[in-house]
Symmetry: C2
């Protein structure tokens, strides 16, 4: 029996284009002699469809597409993920389903049992879980234990559910397992995923075919990496990461094939993240954000600092050097090196720049505000005005020429509110908003791995917002290596102040940082979506009260 | 047996203040002869705690508070809502629990069975549902069927769950029901709530004590309206709406007390909403947003139009006339009446204004952008620049003087993207962002019910953004009565294009409007939280893909 894995990139709600991509994979699989072609979870409607699932019209269009796919399944079978209607009035209206299609019809439907409802996942919002139907499907005389993503996942120690679908299916003595998934990237997640799939295949003693989404959907980046494991849990083959892929495997050859080596890491600290994978994820994230919205050109502000330098380099790599405009907006406080460093960067990238000094507009606005400020002394307000003038200029160029503005904030400053709302916090998408400052440096060094793209001076100088004379980030913030460690303990590890302090940090500093994080929730609420590369990014996956009084 | 209902307003995570408020209610209840005092759902930690529930530290502080409350329960019993730890490793780590406290200890704990996971609710994200423990509690010899909010709610036709806690409890022959709730306001929801509670009391033939949260938590406004119903389902008494309240009832007198009349409405169309309730909700929403964040003063831009007029009037009512600054920022396109109307409004309100013309800054910015615009013709960019200069000025005054900026966008323009991101879409909180334009007019007339607060001319003139000569909203948008009806069908009723067209609207117009809604998701993602007064507000309760291609 030959099984094809179709790791494709679909767009949410674009039923026609998704259908056409699925049909062409089926046709290819058939012509290449496959008996069964397997697609990822909810591939027909795109993932995550979010509240579109609450529209009958959306669900109907998906059903029509599934029928059309079934029509194409002659001489070949297919498994596709799509929502299925719950026929009884009790419970939620939909199931998250895998449709097994052959002989021109829906042969059977498997409903997802374990519905992830944590971090970025909200599946219980839409779906009724399967409680009591556990049946293997049969294809070409082989019995298949078919599960959907999370159904195979909860086999680690901290169990989140109370029911295990594979335990129900294994008693029917299946010949193999298939799992269809929509499992987004985060650093370290690829390793966890392999550990889980290895454990499933070896515990149940069955070969496992795993097919995952690829492509970015706003903040979520699906990394692909579909794979086949033999009954010992060894990975026989991995599909490509961060791009579409299609491969056919002969079930008869799986168990005799030599295992591909893979390392099981045990933990991942901030300094141990896989920068290369993050780099590829961000490129895909930027590229898909633009292509799926139908945009081609990006704009960003260039400060001469590390954050905008990294975003500029990523954007040029993702979109092309003729598609990215860097804008220098010097003020009276800008150092000479901030301009020369930014220009050297642009030269290295071969990309265009525009320079617009902000003093004239700043002077005029300060004049307009003379009465309103009533002689009060200068404070952070004047710094914010400069940042907001830059926001106005960037958005003006964006509107006039059809650029999308790239936000250049990093996770450290977003966490503590070290940024100006409607100023440097503007943008359509936040490219490095899930990277702590120390990670941004690692990424810059990775970008420079073969040749100097980002000028060394940008990597060496002390970070500064340059909004007042001789300002340094370290005037208002702890050094980034300390700050990032504490933020990581609070945000990713969800430790409280006593637990963090017990790790050897100063209690007052910890309290101050946690308070900054919590009281700046109102700013993060209004920022662009953040490309997610960590297990806990700001945005969809982290929901915090704005009005509250906890550690604040 | 005497039962006290303590309808209080607590702050999320403010354990010390919440505890002190709860203890003083217990002490008052005891001194007034009550046997039992009942508090709302999750009152100890505040509602909704959101992802703070993922912090062990947060849960521990809540547990300590529950123990302290138990310590105070001598000679009186109490029921308080708080998270409870799940002792087994399987399933989520917490239960949403009602603690029954008497004799200085936790006498028993009831876990919530039905976990709302839709619209603004994410309870399955945090809690394990109760599956199989259904036990009445006993207080003063009376058997009480104690449930938590949703547990009593799913008795309508479209059942969302597959288990009904009261059906399990009623076989134990309880003497009464108690339901502790955190049920936020939306227009019409008070009527649904009464219908549900009426049905529960009369179906089970039991008196029902219902206690709800009051107070606003960012976007969610809890309206209180706790109540007691007799075994016929008649409402014996309602506690106050939109404010804290405390009442003691004698169980023995409930069934003989005369029923208070209440009307059961069957539907609510946009024009049938209860404007008076919306008015009170918004006042509470603004007041609590400020007081819970520790701010006193508001600022807003005054355009001379209806939206800013209504927000100005609401802010003055909520915060006091000496606490609200209205800022006029005329441009070359501003009509004379936009200035005179705004000034007359301020005079009527007795509140201060400041006037800052924006032409000088606009001219200077256009000059700065000369090269960047490369001789391209004027378009919407120049309109956006004007709106963004106003944003910069308002935020500057806000930063300098410690005002919170009030956003004045309405739901119609937020829906179709008729607004400038980082311009008029700025603000800490969106006051009328859940009111369609036609509702804003109704609210303005309601504000003017006794005397003219909002000048009649503001109510009569055609809506205009005044960003180019002789501009009218109707140049780019359909008339608001048509637009709002179509938006309502799509947003609140979740109908698709064919279903809306079938109601008698032009198919092309419907397609155009739905496309505007979907393609402007990226703007709404970055807007301030919206005070929620409808069953489907933008924000937390409506989660849509930004990158997608459905009806777009």
């Amino acid at each position: 029996m030959k099984i094809a894995l179709a790791q494709i990139n679909t767009r949410i709600g674009d039923f026609e284009a998704n259908l056409s991509k699925i049909l062409s994979c089926i046709s290819r699989a058939k012509s290449e002699g496959a008996d069964l072609v397997v697609f990822p979870e909810l591939i027909v409607c795109g993932y995550p469809p979010l509240d579109f699932l609450e529209f009958e019209d959306f669900v109907k269009r998906s059903q029509i597409a599934v029928r059309k796919i079934a029509d194409a399944c002659h001489g070949i079978a297919a498994i596709v993920g799509a929502p299925d209607e719950n026929p009884v009035p009790e419970g939620k209206n939909l199931f998250n389903a895998a449709f097994f299609l052959q002989n021109g019809r829906v042969e059977s439907v498997v409903h997802k049992t374990l519905l992830p409802t944590y971090d970025v996942f909200d599946e219980y919002r839409y779906f009724e879980p399967n409680h009591n139907v556990f049946e293997c499907i049969t294809c070409k005389g082989k019995k298949i234990a078919l599960t959907i993503c999370e159904d195979l996942w909860d086999i680690e120690e901290d169990k989140m559910y109370t029911l295990w679908p594979m335990d129900k299916l294994v008693v029917q003595k299946p010949d193999l397992m298939i799992n269809i998934a929509a499992s987004p990237f985060s650093y370290g997640h690829d390793v966890s995923r392999k550990r889980v799939l290895h454990k499933a295949a070896s515990d149940y003693g069955l070969p496992l075919f795993y097919v995952n989404h690829v492509g970015a959907q706003t903040e979520l980046i699906f990394d692909g990496g579909s794979m086949v494991l033999n009954r010992n849990g060894n990975i026989v083959c991995e599909l490509n990461y961060f791009e579409e892929d299609f491969r056919i495997f002969d079930l008869g050859h799986i168990n005799t094939a030599p295992a591909v080596d893979f390392k099981l890491a045990s933990a991942f600290r901030p300094e141990e993240v896989n920068i290369e994978a993050i780099h590829r994820a961000l490129i895909l994230g930027v590229r898909d954000y633009f292509s799926k919205l139908g945009f081609k050109k990006a704009i960003l502000g260039l400060s001469g600092g590390i954050d905008s330098a990294v975003v500029y380099a990523l954007a040029v790599e993702a979109l092309g050097k003729d598609k990215v405009l860097g804008v220098l907006m010097p003020s009276q406080y800008s150092s000479d090196h901030s301009i020369s460093d930014a220009l050297l960067l642009a030269k290295n990238l071969g990309a265009a720049t525009e320079t617009i000094p902000i003093q004239p507009a700043f002077k005029e606005l300060m004049h307009s505000l003379e009465h309103g400020f009533a002689g009060k002394p200068a404070d952070v307000t004047e710094e914010n005005i400069q940042a907001r003038i830059r926001g106005v200029l960037l958005m003006a160029l964006s509107n006039k020429h059809g650029y999308i503005l790239l936000n250049t904030s990093n996770k450290s400053e977003a966490a503590v509110g070290y940024g100006t709302l409607y100023g440097d916090m503007c943008g359509g998408i936040s490219v490095i908003g899930d990277l702590y400052k120390t990670h941004v440096y690692s990424l810059a060094r990775h970008i420079n791995r073969d040749k100097e793209v980002i000028p060394e001076n940008i990597l060496l100088k002390a970070p500064s917002a340059e909004l007042r004379p001789d300002q340094k980030d370290s005037d208002s913030l702890p050094e980034y290596d300390i700050l990032d460690e504490i933020l990581y303990q609070y945000i990713e590890q969800r430790l409280g102040p006593a637990e963090i302090t017990a790790k050897g940090y100063d209690a007052k500093l910890v309290a101050r940082i946690l308070k900054m994080v919590n009281t700046n929730e109102y700013k993060r609420y209004q920022t662009p979506p953040v490309l997610r590369v960590s297990p806990k990014a700001f945005g969809l996956g982290r929901r915090m009260p704005i009005v509250g009084h906890y550690l604040s």
